[in-house]
Amino acid sequence: MTDAKMRGVRERKSRTRKKGVSLLLNFPYLIWLSLFVIVPMFIVAAYAFTDASGAFTLDNFRKLSVYRENIFDSFVYALIATAVTLILAYPFAYFMTKRSAAAQRVMMMLVMLPMWMNLLILTYSIMNIIETNGIVNNLLVAMGMEKVQMINTPGAVVFGMVYNYFPYMVLPLYSVLSKIDPALLEAAADLGSGGPSRFRRVILPLSMPGIISGITMVFVPSVSTFYISQKLGGTSVNMIGDVIESLVNRVSTRNLGAMLSLVLMVVILICIMIMNRFSDEEGGIML
């Protein structure tokens, strides 16, 4: 046998061996994925298309219009919260990159620390600060001013979302902004572009992937939250998450809750797909 032939045989052998090994390694994972990711989604769909006795029906979807307002409100609040977070976090991440390496490391730690704290407790603490007899109002009264109604308003809910998901926007923005080569900006300046045009034509396009992932990381948990709206919105705000939470807890309305979960999931997956498409196109333009 020639050398080349022998190499060929050996490569083929190692390839089949590799294929077998890779399947074997994946086997537990594939089973796990199908049992606990794929099957549950089918069960949600099955519940959505049946009534409590298990017979096929489209009634659940007919009731979708009842929850039109909750769905609409959720998307509006989440969109506002995402926009506010982006507007606040972008300059924040930008200013961070302008500091010394040691300061950046410390600030990074300070941004990540609240992420490790439980959302429930942070939200409760915000509630303590802004409630009717809370800290801010107590201070106002002590200074001889009148109390301000802050809790149980849509504004409080949006503030809660911005507050809780702010670090999730800062992290991806910081990671793209800190990688932008200063030489690129110098080159743009040398070629005669001023501050605003440098931002629009160099910094912004280069930070697009960070913006996209930040938006998804803030929007998805915001639109589906139920704790923040319960604690800070009271009865004035009833989001889709609140509705699902109250529906699935009772066996009799579980099918309706499954229908709303299915709708929420499909809408969010479509949103994410559109966003990813958008970022791909941006990348194409960049190249």
Partner: protein, 272 residues
């Protein structure tokens, strides 16, 4: 401009830390109010140590986090190695997109879908209570898995595939080659994946809420506590968590700085 940037960062950090400061401050309150401070005391910390529900929840949280992290890390690392070795591109993208589903889905949908699965299986088996430690464990492993896979895969792409082959040519079995050559070169990815799985598990509320049954973790306990008027005891519990996270982050940061210093020293020696 520079001053403006400093002020901007300062103001946002102040707002960011205000609720945390309120939490720590009122955990030392002498009375049971979380809005009016009446005097300093360690009463609520004593109360916390005496509270068996809180201590049980803490134990449960740690147990669940450790077990689910170990399972997710092993399964996820093996899966990443397997996915990396896949030849069929379609199959590969298919597996990767399915494994990203729990990451993209809102928590509430993941929680509800798993709860319905467990309820369905429980009904088929005729069980009275279908939820408990094992269901919450399955749920936590499920949402941690994609993070482990996504942390390990890039490290695999950076390693030289011929290294494992070389090890095998030199007489080691595929398993030996994996443990002695592949695993050390991807260990940083495995560790960061495991860390992420651990923190996600400790912090999770929504998915646990739907899959736990009577098994209570700390976030679930906090949830039931915040349904009523809470006492500063809960703030004491959370201040302790805050302190441990702070210490952990400081240790991690210090070791990173030390490592960076070592690396820079090595590169300086290399230049000489």
């Amino acid at each position: 401009m520079k001053i403006f940037g400093k002020i901007y960062l300062g103001v946002i950090f102040a707002v960011m830390y205000l609720p945390l400061l309120v939490m720590v401050f009122f955990s030392f309150n002498a009375s049971n109010s979380t809005a009016t401070f009446t005097g300093f005391s360690l009463h609520w910390y004593e109360e916390m140590l005496r509270d068996s529900a809180a201590m049980d929840a803490l134990k449960n949280t740690l147990l669940l986090a450790v077990v689910s992290t170990v399972i997710a890390t092993i399964l996820g690392t093996l899966a990443a190695v397997g996915i990396f070795g896949m030849r069929n591109k379609w199959f590969k993208t298919g597996v990767l997109s399915v494994s990203n589903v729990p990451m993209m889905n809102p928590d509430i949908v993941t929680g509800v879908s798993l709860m319905l699965l467990f309820a369905f299986v429980g009904r088929m088996l005729g069980a009275v209570e279908s939820l408990g430690f094992f269901t919450i464990l399955i749920a936590h492993v499920t949402f941690s898995l994609p993070y482990v896979v996504l942390n390990v895969l890039p490290k695999l792409m950076q390693t030289d595939p011929h290294l494992a082959e070389a090890a095998q040519d030199l007489g080691s079995t595929p398993i030996q080659a994996f443990f002695r050559v592949v695993l050390p070169s991807i260990s940083s990815g495995v560790v960061s994946g495991a860390l992420m799985a651990f923190t996600l598990s400790i912090d999770d509320f929504v998915i646990s809420h739907y899959t736990s049954g009577s098994f209570t973790t700390l976030p679930l306990l906090i949830y039931t506590m915040t349904k009523k008027r809470v006492t500063p005891e809960m703030y004491a519990v959370c201040s302790c968590i805050f302190l441990s996270v702070l210490v952990l982050l400081l240790i991690m940061n210090l070791s990173q700085i030390r490592q960076a210093k070592k690396m820079s020293r090595i590169s300086v020696i290399g230049k000489k």
